[in-house]
Symmetry: C2
Subunit: 364 residues, 2 copies
């Protein structure tokens, strides 16, 4: 499977929900497979908070493949012999698209960068799809923040696709998720090396911002659940640490430490602030009287895949989307399934064999 | 009700579980009511992580009463007309008892202070009770870390009391709780003002250690649950903040911020490190072959009060204590109840009217 990575520059204003305007912007994206002649075989994959456009395949010299590699490729569920799969790095992120630390040739805007919403992310991507000639996608799909983009797209661009698949997501971020994001925000902002956003571009390459690492450790708690942590770590202690050493560690602590510090080296803290903000304020009902009124706009068939132990975006939130669609008379256009998994929120990036069947079915 | 606050100095070695020795130590404690002639009417109350010996009554000029005030006093459930209630500030804490920042007249040991265990906390208190002539207590009771002390005392000093009441606690701290404690630890240790434990005694009076405040915010998440956060905060936004301001806040964020920073001004960060360590390594089975073998030592009637939405010390953990006691033939000596509450772990400090009846019953 060939990986095509590209960046598209837009020298036209993007009017943001906040009232702010981006005079120009760029989007980096990746595609797998070939766009067919009538441009009807595109599947849009939306990435989550820390994801990027690199959803599948493996770059030369990289040890890891794209974040949804088991699902995207030849003869896989998103079959690149049949579909043209595209994934766009979201506005605000740090992997090539316009964000707080990337403003074309100009000085980065840092904390003066405007707040971005999920709706803004989708609006910018729609401009890209239009430029590529994709007026209508075969399907759109995403997990977590990717699911928010998919739902938002279904409401705001109802003619764009007939098939929408949301995994481990919500119609509006709830207090539990907001609280965890707050920890990350506090960690980043209070770290003196953050310098109120005026750090150097390469300051964190060798040693990530500690406060960011701690914030990310909080994230790793939120992706799991008390139950899934029991299964994964129990009370196992790190072999080389002493139980009576003040800083001796249980394995769950080493896991947090490892993931937190590694992540802080490869993700930009300002981008993280902007993206968690976009997630926090995501609310599909905001411009409408009610969730009914909002979801009423959807024309596509919705497939909702929740995970039992997901505490961040709980099955009940996904169920509310389903129930609302049923209430507005779209019961025949919605499928909901709750997958039994011990992995919590992370399940959509791990337990493919438990849910890929539902994606396959939805694509037909 | 008269509040008697006192400190007792012990010029004798305390042999700690870790193998370290405290040559001398002191304990600050508070009592309510009168010890009767045969010294048989004492009720020992064990405090939680951030509590102190000040469990009831109100000091002059204080706006708040002790942490369990609704339960302790004349004609209350722990009736001070009838009982002599005593609560001791635990070893390692910062409210008068020996801890990392308090070493009598000597220099504080700071990070050289030995790791303390729940068992050490109980052992030190037993010396105090002995000195006060209390060979046997009418009952012992505690929530959260206080429940750990109560359970530990029941196992290790089975003759000390016939009535043990544990609320919102566990037989061994599980990974979820350990993970949250890790956030606090990381926050404290990575804050430059912590100075590797060499901060000045009054450094944080006006402005708490920021990293500690963030760690405490994490704690405040763990005391709640996704469900209880929905009930308490929903997606309500702070009135004076803008939705499109990057640092605009939801009410749950303001709650965390307020509680985190306030707490960091009144609690010592080193004490916090030592006490969460004691909680993390608490495991009633550690010196035994199994939980059966451990709990087998208990002679008292056990009353276990769990709270449905408590994610930190879950009902299933309390249930395991009950089931184990049943398995070792003590079914007639154990009562277990799971209280339906929206408050999560905090319920044992809030929803008194839902559980005080069970305490009353247990004291008879």
């Amino acid at each position: 499977m060939e990986i095509v990575t590209a960046t598209e520059q837009f020298d036209e204003p993007l009017y943001l929900e906040s009232g702010r305007i981006l005079d120009s912007f760029k989007l980096t994206y990746e595609t797998y497979g070939e766009l067919n002649e009538d441009k009807s075989n595109a599947i849009v994959v939306f990435h989550a908070l820390t994801g990027s456009h690199h959803a599948a395949g493996r770059y030369e010299n990289d040890s890891k493949s794209g974040w949804w590699n088991p699902l995207i490729g030849e003869d896989k569920i998103l079959d690149t012999k049949k579909y043209f799969v595209i994934c766009v790095n979201v506005l605000g992120s740090c992997f090539g698209s316009t964000g707080p630390m990337s403003n074309g040739d100009k000085e980065p805007l840092r904390l003066k960068f405007p707040v971005i919403t999920i709706s803004d992310m989708v609006a910018s991507q729609m401009k890209l799809f239009k430029r590529l000639g994709i007026e209508k996608a075969h399907a759109i799909i995403g997990g977590s923040m990717g699911g928010m983009q998919a739902l938002c797209c279904a409401v705001e661009y109802p003619a764009f696709t007939e098939r929408v698949i949301c995994l481990a997501s919500t119609y509006a971020t709830q207090a539990w998720a907001i609280a965890f994001n707050r920890l990350a925000m506090e960690g980043i902002v209070n770290d003196p090396r953050f310098e109120n956003g005026h750090y150097g571009k390469d300051d964190f390459v060798n040693e990530g911002l500690f406060g960011f690492a701690v914030g990310r450790m909080a994230g790793h708690i939120s992706f799991l659940s008390p139950h899934s942590m029991d299964s994964k770590f129990g009370r196992n202690y790190v072999e080389t640490d002493g139980i009576y050493e003040l800083f001796g560690r249980f394995q769950v602590e080493r896991y947090m430490e490892y993931n937190g510090h590694n992540f802080a080296k490869r993700f930009d803290p300002l981008s993280y602030l902007y993206i968690i903000k976009a997630m926090n304020i995501f609310d599909a009902t905001r411009n409408y009287d009610s969730l009914e009124h909002s979801l009423h706009h959807i024309k596509a068939k919705m497939t909702l895949i929740a995970f039992k132990e997901d505490k961040l975006f709980r099955p009940r939130e996904m169920e509310e989307i389903k129930n609302t669609l049923v209430n507005v008379g779209r019961g025949n256009q919605v499928g909901y399934v709750c997958i039994d998994s011990d992995y919590g929120h992370d399940a959509f990036l791990i337990e493919y064999d438990k849910f890929d069947f539902y994606i396959e079915k939805a694509l037909k």
